[in-house]
Structure formats: structure tokens, C-alpha cells
């Protein structure tokens, strides 16, 4: 379980995240919504150590993530699908997936894991030898997701997985998130597509210019008047 307390992050003079606290319980889907520049990506980046925190604490299953070296975090069972996918463009689809298993000491499960991912994303199986850089945006998103799954995570941070995807792919991606959830994986989901995000999440936080302004049951927030006006374009 992930527990963030009083976290603040700044880029030089810009305070991107101001004293936020949030938690994600095992097996939950928690959604983090907010306008552009609210600090969502920054929050996720701080959790996995890509950006240093100014103050606060991030506890994950007994590990103080802010004190850990960032490349070790994945070994605790946390995977992060970054904003903008960040696939390794000059590696093939399969190599990308194999990179996902980099942190595993033992790679005997590799072929089973690959089969699992290919089962989830049959399209990737067809394209396993293609360089990831030449894939379409949606296919790259699948690679990013599959790659994260390869590290046997129990918790996945997802940053705008639906960005730039066709409506059909968006539906597919959300279906997969639900399926992961059903398998017991914990998900912290950042989304612009607030409607979809809130409809599959258990709980949600609303981030506004670096601060959490609302939190609660996702379905309730979905019907909250303020949220509807600000994020759902009602």
C-alpha cells in the first residue's frame, strides 16, 4: 500500500506540488484528476524517484521511497507507465518487453510473462519484431503497459494512458485496466479523461495547482457539481 504524506516538490522557483497527502490501498484503483499543470505527473515522478521531493514522505509497503535509489523502486513491486509512453524506440517490441523484466533476478518466467502480455495485447504479438519507434501511438501505449507488467508489479502508476488514442483504443485500454484490477493489481491512475477515469476508479483525488482540493468516492465525485463543471465539461 502506498501512503504519501505532506509531499512538496518544486522545480527551482516553481512549486509544482504543495504539501499533498494521499494513499492507495491494496487492490484499489485510485484516480488522480486535475487540469493541465496541476502537478499530477510531478506527483508520479516523485513517487518513483525521477524527480526529487522537497519535503514529505512516500511510504510503499514499508519502504520509504524518497530514501531509496530510484532504480530500486521497481523491485518493490511498483511499476510506472510514464506520460508520453517512453518506449525504447530503437528496440523491438519484444526487446522492450524484456527490458520490463530487467529488475527480476530470475528470468525463468520470461516466456510465460511474454505469453501473458501477448495474450492481453494480441496486436503486440503480431508486431513483436517491429521497432517500437515505428509503431502507432496506440500500439506504443500497449508496449508501455505490457512492459510495466513484465516486472511482476503489484502496483502500477499510469500517467494518461489514453492520451492521443482513438476512441476505440481508449475503450480497450480502460478494459485492460479493469482486468488488471480484477487480478488484484493496485492502480494509481492519472487521467485527463476524467469521466472514464472516475467511472472505473474506487476513489479519486482532485489536484488543483499543486494542492489536493477534493477527495472521495469516485462515483460521488463523478456526480459532484464542481467536478463536473471543472473537469467533465458538463
Amino acid at each position: 500500500m502506498l501512503d504519501i504524506k505532506n509531499l512538496s516538490v518544486s522545480y527551482g522557483a516553481i512549486d509544482a506540488v504543495k504539501n499533498i497527502s494521499l494513499h492507495v490501498d491494496d487492490g484499489e484503483i485510485v484516480s488522480l484528476i486535475g487540469a493541465n499543470g496541476a502537478g499530477k505527473t510531478t506527483t508520479l515522478h516523485t513517487i518513483t524517484g525521477l524527480v526529487p521531493a522537497k519535503s514529505g514522505s512516500v511510504m510503499f509497503n514499508g519502504h520509504d521511497l524518497l530514501k531509496e535509489r530510484n532504480h530500486n523502486i521497481v523491485t518493490f513491486g511498483m511499476a510506472h507507465i510514464p506520460e508520453g509512453r517512453h518506449v525504447f524506440t530503437r528496440m523491438s517490441v519484444q526487446e522492450n518487453l524484456e527490458m520490463g523484466a530487467f529488475s527480476l533476478k530470475d528470468d525463468s518466467t520470461m516466456s510465460d510473462d511474454l505469453d501473458m502480455v501477448f495474450g492481453l495485447f494480441p496486436r503486440l504479438k503480431e508486431r513483436r519484431r517491429q521497432l517500437a519507434g515505428t509503431l502507432s501511438g496506440g500500439e506504443q501505449q500497449m508496449v508501455a503497459m505490457g512492459r510495466a507488467l513484465m516486472s511482476h508489479p503489484n502496483t502500477i502508476l499510469m500517467d494518461e494512458p489514453s492520451m492521443g488514442l482513438s476512441p476505440k483504443l481508449v475503450k480497450e485500454i480502460f478494459a485492460i485496466i479493469k482486468k488488471l484490477h480484477a487480478e488484484g493489481i493496485t492502480v494509481l491512475l492519472v487521467e485527463q479523461n476524467a469521466k472514464m477515469a472516475l467511472s472505473i476508479a474506487d476513489r479519486a483525488y482532485v489536484l488543483e495547482t499543486g494542492s489536493i482540493t477534493m477527495e472521495g468516492d469516485a462515483k460521488e465525485l463523478l456526480h459532484d457539481e464542481k467536478v463536473r463543471k471543472a473537469y467533465l465539461g458538463a
Binding site: 516553481i14 484528476i33 487540469a35 493541465n36 499543470g37 492481453l120 494480441p122 509503431l135 502507432s136 501511438g137 496506440g138 500500439e139 494518461e160 492520451m163 492521443g164 488514442l165 482513438s166 476512441p167 476505440k168 483504443l169 481508449v170 475503450k171 480497450e172 480502460f174 478494459a175 485492460i176 482486468k179 485527463q192 479523461n193 476524467a194 469521466k195 463543471k229 471543472a230 473537469y231 467533465l232 465539461g233
Partner: protein
């Protein structure tokens, strides 16, 4: 009907064996707003790249106001009147917001190097005229307060708007917008929709819009053309497109198949 702003005939391009776009036909009249949609990798951005001279078509031709544009370099196409925004935002990051717009006004300046070096009255006059025009333009997008901010420091939404403002400053007849609402939430998208309507009314230009956000596309486009694997699979009025079974299966996805997708 008089000569349309844009007429594309059988445009196509191949990347090392891959036909990214083929037999692309389209006409856009003055003041029209046309949508271009299709699955990821269908070739939409590639169409924009063809229309702006980033890539040269391997087949077909296209005309702006009846003038053939094949073989023209990007800057020539832009000067002739086609401007665009980019799917991955491309601003002049280390320049201020106002400078970003002024760069696009470059062709409207007539002072020459000598004028610049000797700071002639013409230099001063044009610089101050352009400054005024730039601020006017920024005002449409509520960006005038940020005129002296470095573009890199703008919030994402503002960056998207600045890209549009910059494109407008080239003084084009046809504006190509590539996923302007990507990464925006529905409320911000609505704000953008208003902006698009404003500029179309105010400048009387034609717009070609790529977008995956159906609420935007269906609301603002007069006609929509759908690409899949580089080919046009449908084109028509928004309602027709929304109900076209081929479009639904390739692009929109049916509302009830979300669960079946993952199983196959």
C-alpha cells in the same frame, strides 16, 4: 462554386514500402471546417505533412486557391497560405510568447537588413505595429498577460493555444490543427472549441482538424473524412460518420464491445 481553398487529388506517399497515405482526395471551401479522423497510425498527421511540404507526395497533387503546391518547401507553402500546428507541441521554447508570434509575422515585415542595422524610422514603425498586432492576436487566446513569459514556462493548455496563435500570425487561408485538444480535459476542450469558432468567424479562414476527442469533432466540424491504413473509408456529415459501421468498427468502437475486445 468558385475555386476551393484546398483541392487535393489522389495524394499519396510511401515510406520504404509502407503506403502511409494513398489516393487522398479532399476539397475545402472558404470558411469551411473539416474534420480528419481515423485510428492511430492511419496517416492523418502524414496528410498534414504532405499539405505543408514536410514530405513530398509520391503521387497526386494538391492546390491552394488553384495554385499547384507540389514540390514547394514548407516555408513556401506557409507563405502561400497553409499554416499548421503540431501533434507534439513545437514552440520556440527559449523565446517569449510575443516573440513566438512575431516570428510568424516575419513575412509581414518589409524592412531589410539595412533598416535593421541603422534603425530606420521604418524599422521602428513596423516593430511597434507588429507588437500591437501580436498583442491583439494573443488577446483572442487570453494570452496577452503572458506576452513576456518564456514559452517553455507556459502551462500545457496555453502552449497549445500559443501554437494556434502563431499559426494565425502567418496570415494563412487554411489552418491545419493536429490534435489541439490532446491532453486537455473536457472543460479545457470546450474552451478550445470556443476559440476555434471565434477565429473561424473572425478571420474567415478554412480549417482542417485532426482530433480524437469526438465531442469536439462532432460539435464543430461541418464535414468529416475518415482514414484507415492511409485510405479514406468514409466521408460525410458528422451524423453519417458517427453511424457508419465501418467507422465504428475501425475507429469509434461500439459501446458494448469493451469487454469483448480484451478477450480476443
Amino acid at each position: 462554386m468558385s475555386e476551393p481553398i484546398l483541392r487535393a487529388e489522389h495524394l499519396g506517399i510511401t515510406f520504404g514500402g509502407l503506403k502511409a497515405v494513398s489516393d487522398f482526395n479532399m476539397t475545402i471551401g472558404k470558411g469551411e471546417l473539416v474534420g480528419l479522423i481515423g485510428p492511430n497510425g492511419a496517416g492523418k498527421t502524414t496528410v498534414f505533412n504532405l499539405l505543408t511540404g514536410v514530405y513530398q507526395p509520391t503521387e497526386g497533387e494538391f492546390f491552394l486557391d488553384g495554385k499547384r503546391m507540389n514540390g514547394k518547401k514548407t516555408y513556401q507553402v506557409v507563405r502561400a497560405g497553409i499554416a499548421r500546428t503540431f501533434q507534439n507541441i513545437r514552440l520556440f521554447k527559449q523565446m517569449t510568447v510575443e516573440e513566438n508570434v512575431l516570428v510568424a509575422f516575419n513575412e509581414s515585415f518589409t524592412y531589410k537588413m539595412g533598416g535593421a542595422i541603422f534603425r530606420t524610422p521604418r524599422f521602428w514603425k513596423q516593430e511597434s505595429d507588429m507588437h500591437a498586432k501580436a498583442i491583439d492576436l494573443l488577446r483572442i487566446f487570453n494570452l496577452e498577460g503572458l506576452a513576456n513569459t518564456e514559452a517553455a514556462n507556459l502551462p500545457y493548455g496555453a502552449q497549445r493555444k500559443l501554437e494556434i496563435a502563431r499559426a494565425l500570425a502567418t496570415g494563412m487561408k487554411l489552418l491545419l490543427l493536429d490534435e489541439p485538444a490532446a491532453g486537455m480535459n473536457p472543460t479545457e476542450t470546450e474552451d478550445l472549441l470556443n476559440c476555434i469558432n471565434t477565429i473561424r468567424d473572425r478571420f474567415g479562414i478554412a480549417i482542417l482538424l485532426i482530433e480524437h476527442d469526438m465531442s469536439l469533432v462532432m460539435n464543430v466540424c461541418q464535414r468529416i473524412q475518415v482514414l484507415d491504413y492511409g485510405r479514406t473509408i468514409a466521408s460525410g456529415l458528422p451524423e453519417e460518420i458517427a453511424n457508419n459501421p465501418q467507422v465504428i468498427s475501425a475507429y469509434l468502437g461500439s459501446d458494448d464491445d469493451t469487454d469483448s475486445e480484451e478477450e480476443n
